[in-house]
Symmetry: C2
Subunit: 449 residues, 2 copies
Amino acid sequence: MKIDNYIELYKNKTFESMNLHFKSKEIFPGGINHNIRYFKPYPFYTVKAKGKFLTDIDGNKYIDFWNGHWALILGHSPKMVSDKLKKQVKRGTLYGTANESSIKLGEMINKAMPLAENIRFSSTGSEATMYAIRLARAKTRKRFIAKVIGGWHGFNSNLLQSVNYPYEVDEGIGLIEDENQFIESIQFNDLDRSLKVLESIKDDLAGIIVEPILGGAGCIIPKEGYLEGLQEFARQNDSLLILDEIVTGFRHSFSGAMNHYKLEPDIFTLGKIIGGGLPIGAVCGKKEVMSLADMTNKSDKRMYCSIGGGTFSANPITMTAGYTTLKFLKKNPTVYEKINSLGDLARNELSKLFKELKIDVKITGYGSLFMIHFLNDKVREINNALDSALTNNELLFNYQFALIAKYNIFFLPLKMGAFSHAHEKEDVYKLLEATREIFQNNKARIAHT
Amino acid sequence: MKIDNYIELYKNKTFESMNLHFKSKEIFPGGINHNIRYFKPYPFYTVKAKGKFLTDIDGNKYIDFWNGHWALILGHSPKMVSDKLKKQVKRGTLYGTANESSIKLGEMINKAMPLAENIRFSSTGSEATMYAIRLARAKTRKRFIAKVIGGWHGFNSNLLQSVNYPYEVDEGIGLIEDENQFIESIQFNDLDRSLKVLESIKDDLAGIIVEPILGGAGCIIPKEGYLEGLQEFARQNDSLLILDEIVTGFRHSFSGAMNHYKLEPDIFTLGKIIGGGLPIGAVCGKKEVMSLADMTNKSDKRMYCSIGGGTFSANPITMTAGYTTLKFLKKNPTVYEKINSLGDLARNELSKLFKELKIDVKITGYGSLFMIHFLNDKVREINNALDSALTNNELLFNYQFALIAKYNIFFLPLKMGAFSHAHEKEDVYKLLEATREIFQNNKARIAHT
């Protein structure tokens, strides 16, 4: 089937979504409240989400591999979380004061990730990474921050640079050069080149911020030695390693990727999973760094690093959802076995299938995260964001759109998928079956429209 | 009673809070997740909030004039909101996709505030003001932002300057000079001096950001002509007026302060009340500005202004709480009559009382917002943040602490109070009675300890 036919199929089943999108465009720029949530010809409009399913306003029920930006490790509105939330909404959603629920979640994280010696909760990941940068600069009294090309750390002005291809072009208008003159970009998985860049700024290098697995840029696993090399460089040069674990924290085990890769960051950020589906961010780290944020009993502003917080930080709804989620994960380590093996199954079976179909792909990922890259003459390996950007993303979009249009399988187009505790093997098989059908007779056509 | 005795009283009734604070300090820098939530000797720890009451872990029940950072205009967990939330938590907390609930809240805001021609939801106010700045720079292709001395627009790096006394000192370590070289500060309510500063940067002035009522800096009302003068200057110089209505939006009427002061900002920000007690921020404005954030169908990054969004933007829990709150306010305009007249009553009666007690105060505020300033030889009027900073804040703290310790009346120390729909006249009388008792025989003693 040609991509045009899939668009026809999609339009036929999403009539009410189309109407809502017209309305939505009148109110919101582009009709959306987060750029990546848009896809052509228009996104469907969700009215309900339960377990592994998203239901749109036309009643279509999608198997969801997006899982709320990969935050919902237990699937949508798991009963134990919604039961607790039903009680908490009656006891308050925003105390605006110190509260007990934040201590419970904080202690839970601290026990699971001992390097979270101290924690500061914010309401989003964008805030957490911004505060991480500020703390690193405060601790080292240096200015430069190195970030990975294609690395995604949210929409804050401090780190909105070299995110999208072409990486040398500013991330849109309205950002001023002077703000980002102390950000330097390094190539993921290329330690030699990265070290050369770092070497050139080492005297003024406050920190290196890196996702252990490149998430938004294409589900890219670090090569052995890369992250360790960055850590080593940071240590030798009195700079800090800032690990952005917003996606990976509690994703692969009841800990972070730092555990798997044996890293000891000075600062790290969390978000997504630890909020149990409610807004959260967290900057964590060693006491000697985090204590800079303690402004109690200090009268002089030059004695501390001012970070949020914010009106909604440590609110009891988020704290309750996060704590309930982590408590379940702690008590049920089989969740990780299950979702990681679903990831293995998907990667293995998809690889086999595409081989059989003679379609040149590379399936990346680790544990419950996975992504299909359609290779071409330019790209044979997926080692960094540029590789991923130069694969056949038109084909990837058409494939993922076909999954949505005909098979009610949802990946946010061009983004990796994640398994949650709500998924089962049958979901992998459905994905395989749909993939086979899409490509079996239509490879050429779907690829070239 | 001396302040020492109030501390004794407080310690006696907050034993469990003290224990929790020890625990909390082990995990969170300063024991808190938002700097202003700390007060000496330690804050109480909330376990429940309902209507006008906060209940701490020791069972103390405080009349709350802080209302979740002034966000909870209907009081804590009003039934109509918690009923809707109980249903929504079962239908999903984070769709991660376009959704219908965001359109409902967006349309509601747009109808109430027609200048919100377009809206982008974020998850916090700090994000909203950061995006407002970015949009202003994108629209004008200029760099400077003018902000008011003492103006509070959140923890984002773009606007964390001249917030706290002494204003010329950086807001803590870790902020680099180069980030803020394009921020210029102006004195609230001093139009001549402000215009002189603006004049000096007019060719490169992207926008002026201002709270219509200085909130965090001391509940300070604009003098007639001040905000209009800033707007006029912005218009004449192709700069934008950015009104930060995060505190004032839907606070005094079913609209913004812009309605009361007859302003027409190009961009304005909302937060707090519109989230109904859940995390939110919003940047709103004219289509010609907001459309810059529309990146759909644009392949070149230089064609749009990249703003969030974020994982949690437009999540259905926040959207539901916000919509339910605004719908109730729309249907019940008497809420505003009630809370505004409670504010009038408090201001009038407190003024009378302090006059009678021969204590020199200035009560500022408007509608449901109010604040007591203890004057001294240095300060006779409260026109700007500096005035407020130079009043007798030690006395203010001791007074507000006495209210907490002995009378179970809670203001976040040194911050203004707000009335919610859950408050009644009796709460004003309780405040008056407590105030009389605190000062009647102890004026000298509480003032000088």
